[in-house]
Amino acid sequence: MASKVNITIDGRQIQAPEGMTVLEVAKKEGIFIPTLCYLDALEPEGTCRLCIVEVSGSIRHSIRVSCIQEVREGLIVETNTERIQRNRRVLMELLLARTPYSKELLDLAKKIGVVTSRFHAEEFDDCVRCGRCVRVCRDQIGAHALCWVNRGYQRTVTTDFDRLSEYCIGCGSCVQVCPTGALKMEDRGNERIIYKWGQILARFKLEKCSKCGKPFAPRKYLEHMARKVYKPRGQELAEIVCPECARKVERRPFPAPEFPVGKTPFGF
């Protein structure tokens, strides 16, 4: 049993288990803090900075990043002061500069009172550098297909040596967690591609469903499922059956994806 600490968030006295982050506690208490790079199922990385809060009490009065700030005895947190709102708005404007058309980001912007951005990037690639894709691929899928390169403004997500990835299994998790649609997945006929602005990251031939004949999944993905999902359950991936056929014909549920897609702030 983790010991508890007493903290205050927006004037509310709360008992929270040691080791929890301020954001986690606030969420449990139903206190809204905007987040972008944070995702329940992933290790927080604190990159977007939208979740900033003002802290005082047992820490020097300052602005901290709530998704990586652990609670401690006597901590006083203010989640929505004037100063925080002002800072958040600037951060959001900066994010919007390079991602002006993402509906999700615009919705979140509206929530914190930003309509347009004063800043303009020369080129937009829709990527907010939240790192969710890199983290999901590395920590949840274990494929290690994506990585960061370059620094500062040039920082970007790519594959090893910017080549078509040999390690990507074509699961689409990175696409699913990307908050802005900067990463995309497309099935065309019997081919699947995973791509971002100006770069195809991986390309696959799709295997056909043995029941309906529709191409539906890359071989590497099926092998991954067999190894990581079926085998631990003592099952084998005997036939290749697409999710629809598995449901209809066999009344057997297709195994749930092993990545527990949490609720993102955008509700998917």
Binding site: H144, C147, W148, V149
Partner: protein, 153 residues
């Protein structure tokens, strides 16, 4: 061509990969004067460190290079002090003499030209570092004779 022997002998010096990856990469870089892709992929297989992670690290540090470098690396300081003292003329001298731009290598693989912002030798401005050796108060003329010296080696 993948040179397994060299890499194996470097790896043998580091029984533990954890915490030593940068040191390993340094040795490989020193040996080849850059980090060849095939060798990096082999290191990844041998150590179990994902190649994406290695690629990210190599990309992060300026010291590492994915492109072959020349036998001698000429690094001209363009920091504030050196700039004021005429580093621009010195670097232009190199560009003209070797017919390469910053970040490029001569066709004969002898020289690579790089620039840096202050190497902490401002009192010697303008400063130039060739390989490990620092030259101070360099004039374009001196630069030209430094080049000639290394060219003979």
């Amino acid at each position: 061509m993948l040179d397994i022997e060299t890499i194996d002998s470097i790896l043998a010096k580091f029984p533990q990969t954890k915490g030593n990856l940068i040191a390993i990469l340094h040795e490989v870089q020193n040996h080849y004067r850059y980090l060849p892709e095939e060798e990096l992929r082999y290191i990844s297989k041998r150590t179990g460190v994902p190649i994406t992670q290695i690629y990210s690290i190599v990309n992060f540090y300026n010291r590492f290079s994915l492109k072959p470098k020349g036998k001698h690396v000429i690094c001209v300081c363009l920091g504030t002090a050196c700039h004021v003292k005429g580093a621009e003329k010195v670097i232009n001298e190199v560009k003209m003499k070797l017919n390469i731009d910053v970040g490029e290598t001569t066709d004969d693989m002898k020289f690579t030209l790089e620039e840096v912002r202050c190497i902490g030798a401002c009192s010697l401005a303008p400063a130039v570092v060739v390989d490990e050796k620092t030259y101070g108060k360099v004039t374009p003329k001196e630069m030209s004779s430094i080049l000639a010296k290394y060219n003979k080696e």
